[in-house]
Amino acid sequence: MQEKEILVKAEGLSKKFCKDLKTSLWYGVKDLISNLSRDDHKRNLRDKEFWAVRNINFELRRGECLGLIGHNGAGKSTLLKILNGLIKPDEGKVTIKGKVGALIELGAGFNPILSGRENIYNNGAVLGFSRKEIEEKLNEIIDFAELREFIDMPVQNYSSGMKVRLGFAVAAQMEPDVLIIDEVLAVGDLGFVLKCFKTIDKILPKTAIVFVSHSMPTVSRVCNQIIVMEHGKSMYNGSNVGKGIDKYYARFIENESNVVFTDNSIELIDAKIESPKGQINWNDNLKVYYHFKLLKDIPVPEFFTIIVDKEQRPVALLEKNLSGVIIEKDGHIMFAVSHNELQLSKGIYSINIAVRSSVNKEPIYRKNSIINFQVIHENETWEPFLLKSTYEVCSYNNPLNKG
């Protein structure tokens, strides 16, 4: 296949910011003045400055999508502002070809007092449409936003979801060569979000997209290149999206376990899993060993082993202990719980333990992230489970039509 043309090229982009407002404003005045002279000497950090973005390089072709991930304050938004031409890099250079569209704020230029219809013109004008273009697309926009009934009502009476819908409907009319998306799609109801993705899928083949998101499933779905940013630097930059996402998550793995709740009647002394280095091959057995100490004289409680994924979403629960199976000895409770043929998909998980009184079923203890473990499999899977399956050949009318 023929290589498509490069639309965005970033070379050694860097940007510095100042931590102190007063100093920052004063540097601003100096910059205003040095802007006028031919003073283009090499720029070093001045007092109280730091690099918000440091040496970012990438190339993006038509039809490609670059995912930009990193924790808050890693420099993603600053980088987007540079790409969008809102601020100038202090070092390096961006070359962008074609029409640039930015979904950074929906409904820019709206005036709350004016009607939805009037604001379509305002927003459209800000996004660079001509009057003629807006007039041609007006009906399409109103229908896309599903707001025909309310289009002549002042926008201040719209719900926030309606405003976003109207803003997106206008923005969706752009036919950009390069599209910059910040996390604007996180708002709105499910139907709207699905509609947004449908629109993006439609324009993706014709466009180079830079996409900032904290939603890894979305990133892994749309992006084919990824940059993981940390403290302004790129920690990972490449086309192995799965690897990049793992790097991002690695930062958040809390080795620190924490007691979330306790009524001081029981305490976890130790917990282990039976596998070297906390790694389990997919479809192997999971066995967790517990050692509890009773602080009060209570009957043996019920234990719940909860498996959560790296985004702290609970994905599975091991069955609780049946009464009488576990026994107490000198104020200590020791037991192991097993699950055979673990079919969680590849990734990093951690275990939370919840303890409930066997008498009144009240929770008495909960500790999170007591153990971290990794499931090993050669394939990246985004669904939480990879279930073992078998296939066989069968004729088409068999066995469903057997009746």
């Binding site: 601003g28 720029r43 969008n84 809102l86 601020i87 100038k88 390096g92 250079k93 704020e105 007092i113």
Partner: protein, 281 residues
């Protein structure tokens, strides 16, 4: 395959002033719809939320004028002979002055009003200045109508020089906007700047022949003659009432100096915006 427009963003400024002016002018042309739309939006929104609406555009200068007329007629303050009915003199002075001060302030107010916009969306920033000029033209038009109404009301009558009045007003807009463009970047950074400007303009009014004429001698005469706003006010008023415009020479010189300065101001504004976005949002 169509040729794609290429943009390069980097630290190094293009210091070729002709190139920058060309870019600036082409952006003004490309964003003509945006400028009009922004002006229309602001004017509509302003009047939709008020009953008196348009009245507010000229009520402040009229009040100032009325105060001076009262002071003069009641004998509290004795102003020197103006040669025309004092109410015409005072009202014309305050209205023209208000056009001037409004045009000095407009670039900064338009840009500040769009603070949220300029930090999120890339559009030709010149559109903000041009939309400000549209709003000024709208307000000034009402003031000109007022002025002409006064001329007839107080029996000064029609003069052919009235035809040139819009030109003089345009000159005031031009001069004000030029000054405003140079002030805007700084006043976006520090709120002190706009306060100093509004206070300074308050003082400046008293060394400009707005509500009293230039005295025959003394320090005030020297100050007034040196003040570049003096020819603007005096010439505009002369055209209005049909007397011989004695400051036309000074007026033309000020205007001629202003035109290149306007372009430089435009370029300064253009290259300053990224710094403003970076520092103050």
């Amino acid at each position: 395959m169509k040729q794609l427009e290429t943009r390069v963003y980097q630290r190094e400024n293009n210091h070729n002033i002709y190139h920058l002016i060309k870019e600036s002018l082409s952006d003004i042309w490309k964003s003509r719809f945006l400028s009009r739309q922004l002006a229309e939006r602001d004017i509509k929104a302003q009047y939709r939320q008020s009953y008196l609406g348009i009245v507010w555009a000229f009520v402040a200068p009229l009040m100032t004028g009325a105060i001076w007329i009262f002071l003069n007629l009641s004998g509290t303050i004795q102003v020197s002979e103006t040669g025309i009915p004092y109410p015409v003199y005072a009202f014309s002075g305050t209205l023209i002055w208000s056009i001037l001060t409004e045009s000095i302030n407009t670039p900064a107010t338009s840009t500040k009003g769009a603070r949220g916009l300029i930090s999120k969306i890339n559009f030709p920033k010149e559109a903000l200045v041009v939309s400000g000029i549209y709003k000024l033209l709208f307000n000034s038009f009402l003031k000109i109508v007022m002025l002409i109404a006064f001329v007839f009301l107080f029996g000064v009558g029609f003069h052919w020089s009235l035809v040139f009045l819009p030109l003089a007003i345009l000159a005031a807009l031009l001069m004000g906007t030029t000054i405003g463009l140079f002030i805007t970047p700084l006043s976006m950074l520090y709120s002190d700047v706009s306060r100093i400007i509004s206070m300074g303009l308050g003082f400046l009014m008293y060394i400009t022949p707005v509500v009293y004429s230039i005295p025959d001698s003394g320090i005030m005469r020297t100050l007034m003659l040196a003040n570049p706003f003096t020819p603007l006010i005096v010439t505009t008023r002369d055209l209005l009432i049909g007397t011989n415009p004695e400051f036309i020479g000074y007026f033309s010189i000020a205007l001629l100096i202003c035109i290149p300065l306007l372009f430089i101001g435009m370029v300064f504004y253009r290259i300053s915006i990224p710094i403003i976005v970076e520092r103050s949002n």
